[in-house]
Amino acid sequence: MPAAIPLTLELAGLSTALLLLLGVPLAWGLARGRGWWVEALGAVIALPLVLPPTVLGFYLLILLGPHGPLAPLLALAGLHTLAFSFTGLVIGSVVCSLPFMVQPVRSAFAAIGSAPWEAALTLRAAPWDAFVFVILPLARGGIVTGAILSFAHTLGEFGMVLMLGGDIPGKTEVLSIVIFNDVETLRWPEAGALAAGMAVFSFGVILVTLRAEARMARLRA
């Protein structure tokens, strides 16, 4: 059990970092793009919101396994499968939490409108500079929200981990699995303590971040 706490935090932290790198450009593309593919891509990204995590976990089990499309790459790396590994869980978490990152950031980009971007370009800012120094600060609220939601969601992710993880202590046994096992084996006091701890911690993370965000907004005003 003690190993599960740092492991879960590491999984949530690493997944959130990867989601920032992946989700912010995706959200920009969705907010700025025009054409039928925008909504099609948006729908694909939103799928994890509606699909049961066990379904996602099952597909990932096939996808990351020795008969999946990634198998040749895995063989090059000397691996049999990505299931039952921390790496596999990170990939799964990124997939499952992608809509939690992309949706708020996309909304933030859309709310900014095209004026600041065009103004920056007119003033001869390079597109990269305009994005980093104009757009990202303006969209900071959405990005912070996306990161908090992704972190909190990964912290509590259960169905996907159950299907893909194989319950290996120190590698794939995250907190939600420990709680589940405690309930299954009637260790309800332990399950209750962990669940309460998790709820309090999640509440704390969200509260602290939201307060920091509100203070920043006041300072800016």
Partner: protein
């Protein structure tokens, strides 16, 4: 993991209704009843077959719910309205009786589970299970030994063979026996311990039927729950499970039965 209820429920209900019409005018009418049965996930397929045979005989309707035994136990303690519980072990029905949630004296062994070492690859598991000693694999799947009886039996067998310490780093654990099966069937684990009944249904890959001397018999016990105490259909189904006909069906799925 949990299979949907059989689609024929409506037809069965109609059959049951026909039964009422046919017998309704008799002095002692055979009334059709609906009874809910909670079934351990490993027994899903035989339970459906047994329920269908029972319904055909009696006109009663059985509503089957499938989950891991541990989950069912937790649900019953929280007031789930099941009349009958077919567990994957002997401990949980006994525990329910001790808690006053099962009818005392109603607990009996309906099936004896048997363990098999299975791989989806043909020829991977040899007839003596030597593959456990030679160890050319990265993942060995078992059910959770804390909560699933087949998982506990798998650990006992590994210890009896003297290979537990060697394979422990390669163990991956499914929540129940059906998930362990999934890990192996998808190829993510090269091999693992599952229920013989699952292997017999699939018949692909390679398997070793683990000798019963290597693990404690997996007694699967049934219990009449408090919610079903006054339910004649629930009692009738439990009685049916002990008939030679039902026992033959159960053995046909790779389970043993007690004498």
């Amino acid at each position: 993991m949990t299979l949907p209820r059989p689609p024929s429920r409506r037809q069965l209900a109609m059959l049951a209704a026909l039964g009422i019409v046919a017998f309704g005018l008799r002095p002692a009418p055979a009334r059709a009843e609906e009874t809910s049965v909670a079934v351990a996930a490993d027994f899903t397929v035989p339970a459906k077959r047994l329920a269908a045979a029972f319904e055909q005989k009696t006109g009663d309707t059985l509503v089957l719910s499938f989950a891991a035994s541990g989950q069912i136990l937790a649900q019953i303690t929280q007031g789930a309205p099941y009349a009958v519980f077919l567990s994957a072990d002997a401990a949980r029905p006994r525990k329910l009786a001790a808690m006053g949630l099962a009818v005392p004296g109603s607990v009996f062994t309906y099936a004896v589970g048997r363990l098999a070492l299975w791989s989806a690859q043909p020829g991977f598991v040899d007839a003596q299970g030597q593959v456990l000693q030679t160890g050319h694999f990265t993942h060995l799947a078992i059910a959770n030994p804390q909560s699933a009886p087949y998982g506990a039996a798998a650990v006992q067998a590994l210890k009896a063979l003297g290979v537990y310490a060697a394979v422990a780093p390669k163990l991956v654990t499914g929540e129940n026996i059906a998930q362990a099966y999934q890990f192996i069937a998808s190829g993510n684990a090269e091999l693992g311990f599952v229920a013989l009944s699952e292997v017999l249904q699939d018949k692909s890959g390679s398997a070793w039927v683990v000798p019963q001397s290597l693990y404690q018999p997996i007694m699967q016990d049934a219990a009449l729950l408090k919610a079903g105490e006054d339910d004649p259909a629930a009692r009738a189904f439990l009685a049916y499970l002990q008939t030679p006909e039902a026992r033959a069906i159960i053995r046909g799925y790779g389970y043993g039965t007690t004498p």
